[in-house]
Structure formats: structure tokens, C-alpha cells
């Protein structure tokens, strides 16, 4: 769907057969459809009456974010870990910490903020939202879900902005990011951030990004038995495609950026140790700082 809508002035989104959507599918469809609407395309939703899982789509606010309001014949309760409503964030008003914490709390209602699984999901949400907020120039959608039978947490952030290749335009490494796949590979390199590569008119102002968050999130996901997936334009990255046994890549055209992370809850043991190990893998370690830390 994300590929076939290109170039058409009118687009119908048929939800009749929708039984379930992964977090990545939810946010990708919302970001893409709302960009089509912003571009002046005539977007309509069909199959609403015959959709078997209309309540599910309403509970996660999928329809609301598409501008479709249908009376709800259920009672809304606090998010319980099964249906986590989609949250949005934009550059002007985005509250990265609040949204990341809220989505983590809703996804893992039985965990507390000191638990390793809670903190690793909160970290991933914070880093992905922070990237979307400062690199996309658009609106971001975030959604997460816990899959009890697999003991797996999935989180996805999609934005309707300029895409990863677009974020490297006018930077010192623009030539290296000359294809969507090359831009994704560049963004995954430690210490590479499009913000760091852009000429800074005030060198004393510092930078908001060090090009660390995405690299560390990728390593943490792998250590937790999951993976990082990225789509931007027709570029695609996941761990299976970075190995020699690569499977056929999905046909997709997504003009913004979609980043999804999966983690297996039972493979998260000691988050502090996992993070320190991940930092060490990208060549960043702590130093002995006598007296800097007070009891």
C-alpha cells in the first residue's frame, strides 16, 4: 500500500480485512496517509462498517489520527498493555520524555520504572523520538505493544518528514549518503549525526546529538534477542539483510523515516551492564574520575 499510492491523486484505504497491525505498520500507515493528506491527495477510508476489528483500531486511536471519528460502542479504560494508543510528537511541542515514559508505562503495566525491561524500552523510545523530533522536520507517530506469547516488546516510530537521506543534505558527508540505503548505513555509524556534520554558526552552542543513540539502540536490541529495522524512501535495513543470508527485502517506498525495535523481555538481564557493553562496542568507555562522584 505504501508503495502503490505514489502518483495517484485519490487514494482509498480499505480496512475491511484488517485483523491486526504491528506497531511498525500502524505508525507507517498513519505517517504516510497524513503526508498524502498534507500534499492535497484525496484520501478516503473504506470498509469501516465491515471491519471485524474496528474496536481495536479505535482503541489504539488509529482512526482518530486519520481524522475519522466513529461512535465507540465500548468503554475506554486506562491502557492496559494490550491496546496502547498511538502518540504523536512534533518539533515545536514534542515532549520526548513524557511521551516515551507514557508509552513505556502503557506497554509494560506490570513493570516499575526501576526494572531493566522498563528502562530499556523507555531508553529506546526516548532515543527514537529524539531522532524523529530533531532530524525529520515533520510529525512523528509512536506506538508500542507487548506480545505475551512471545514475551516480546515492539516499539516503532514513523515520521512524515524529510527522510534520512534528506537529513544529510547540506552536511559534509552528503555525497556518502547519496542513496537511501547508503544514508541509512551512514546514520547507523557511531559518532555520525547529520546535526554534527552541518556547519555550526556558533561552535560554542554545542550540539544536541552525538550520533550515539541509534547505534546503541541497535546493539541493545540485538543483545535482547530482537532487532532494529529502518525504512526510509526505498532504503531498508534490518539485521537479516545485513548478513550474507539476506532474505528478499520488502518492496516499500516510505518518504519519511520508520524505525522499529523489538526486544525479548526474558533476555534483558542487567540494563546498566548491557548499556556499558554496547558503549564499549562503539569505542566509548568510562574513565576513572576520582572525586567526581559524591556519595
Amino acid at each position: 500500500m505504501l508503495a502503490t499510492g505514489e502518483g495517484h491523486p485519490a487514494i482509498e484505504v480499505d480496512i475491511a480485512a484488517v485483523k491486526f497491525l504491528t506497531p511498525a505498520a500502524i505508525v507507517a500507515i498513519l505517517a504516510r496517509c497524513n503526508r498524502w493528506k498534507r500534499e492535497g491527495r484525496d484520501l478516503s477510508l473504506v470498509g469501516v462498517e465491515s471491519c471485524e476489528n474496528l474496536g481495536y483500531l479505535q482503541r489504539i486511536d488509529f482512526l482518530t489520527h486519520l481524522g475519522v471519528e466513529i461512535p465507540e460502542n465500548f468503554t475506554r479504560r486506562a491502557a492496559s498493555g494490550r491496546f496502547v494508543p498511538v502518540q504523536t510528537l512534533n518539533f515545536a511541542s514534542g515532549e520526548v520524555d513524557r511521551i516515551a515514559s507514557e508509552i513505556t508505562r502503557c506497554t509494560l503495566p506490570d513493570a516499575n520504572p526501576e526494572d531493566d525491561v522498563y528502562r530499556i524500552l523507555q531508553y529506546a523510545a526516548g532515543e527514537l523520538l529524539s531522532n524523529a523530533k530533531y532530524h525529520s522536520g515533520g510529525r512523528a507517530y509512536v506506538c508500542a505493544q507487548f506480545f505475551p506469547t512471545r514475551n516480546q516488546v515492539r516499539i516503532a516510530v514513523a515520521d512524515d518528514g524529510m527522510g534520512i537521506r534528506g537529513s544529510f543534505v547540506n552536511t559534509s558527508r552528503e555525497d556518502e549518503a547519496n542513496t537511501p540505503d547508503a544514508a541509512i548505513r551512514l546514520a547507523l555509524q557511531p559518532r555520525v549525526s547529520s546535526a554534527l556534520l552541518r556547519p555550526n554558526p556558533n561552535p560554542y552552542a554545542g550540539q544536541n546529538h552525538r550520533g550515539v543513540g541509534l547505534s546503541i539502540t541497535r546493539i541493545l536490541a540485538k543483545e535482547a534477542g530482537g532487532q532494529l529495522t529502518i525504512a526510509s524512501e526505498d532504503g531498508w535495513f534490518d539485521e537479516l539483510h545485513s548478513t550474507e543470508q539476506a532474505r528478499p527485502r520488502p518492496a516499500i517506498f516510505f518518504p519519511g523515516t520508520l524505525v522499529a525495535v523489538s526486544l525479548h523481555r526474558d533476555q534483558i538481564a542487567d540494563y546498566a551492564a548491557m548499556h556499558a557493553e554496547a558503549m564499549s562496542q562503539i569505542g566509548m568507555g568510562s574513565i576513572d574520575t576520582p572525586g567526581m562522584f559524591m556519595e
Binding site: S130, Q207, H209, R210, V212, G213, A272, I287, T289
Partner: protein, 104 residues
């Protein structure tokens, strides 16, 4: 002048947004750095943070001031997780400071 910041009062228990970390550094600390004798960042109540925040705030500060940062800045109330994040960001900032000032 001695400064002390309660990070949980400034940002809540999750320090996530790199832009806010950099803004805090720039507007609350750098502008008076020369007059500051010591500055303490109290992380009591902070349960988690991102690399974006900690590198934008403390990595940049360490990179800017090098040894002077090590003399003036202290952290307290840090959990093992917070200590690990801060320590790595400071190390990276000091490394970049040395790199930038090598041969000067």
C-alpha cells in the same frame, strides 16, 4: 559562586531530550561558567536517561572545559546506571577536548 541543581526538579525522573540537555547547559551553566567555583548535579530520584541527553549536556560541557570541568563539576545521588551514563559521556567529552587542543 557555588551552584547545585536537582535534576529531578529540572527534568523529571527520565532525562531524555538532547535539545533540553544542551539548552540547560548553555543557558544555565555556560553563561556563568567563569564565575562558578563549583557546580553539583544531584541525580537523586532520576531513574533513567538517554545518551542524547547526557552527551548534549555533560559531554559538551566536558569537551568545552577539559580539566576545568573535572575540577569544578561534581555529581551526587547517582544510581549505578546514571553513574555509568554520565561517566562515559564525560570521558568522551574530555577525550574530544584533548583531541581539539592537542599541540596548543
Amino acid at each position: 559562586m557555588k551552584l547545585e541543581f536537582q535534576m529531578v526538579s529540572e527534568f523529571g525522573d527520565f532525562l531524555a531530550d538532547g535539545h533540553l540537555g544542551n539548552q540547560f547547559r548553555s543557558l544555565r551553566i555556560e553563561c556563568i561558567w567563569d564565575r562558578v567555583e563549583s557546580v553539583v548535579f544531584d541525580f537523586t530520584g532520576v531513574t533513567n536517561l538517554t545518551d542524547s541527553f547526557v552527551h548534549a549536556c555533560f559531554g559538551n560541557m566536558a569537551e568545552e572545559h577539559g580539566d576545568e570541568f573535572s575540577r569544578k563539576v561534581r555529581f551526587k545521588g547517582c544510581s549505578p546506571l546514571v553513574r555509568s551514563f554520565v561517566s562515559i559521556a564525560v570521558a568522551e567529552g574530555l577525550r574530544k577536548h584533548r583531541e581539539l587542543h592537542a599541540g596548543h
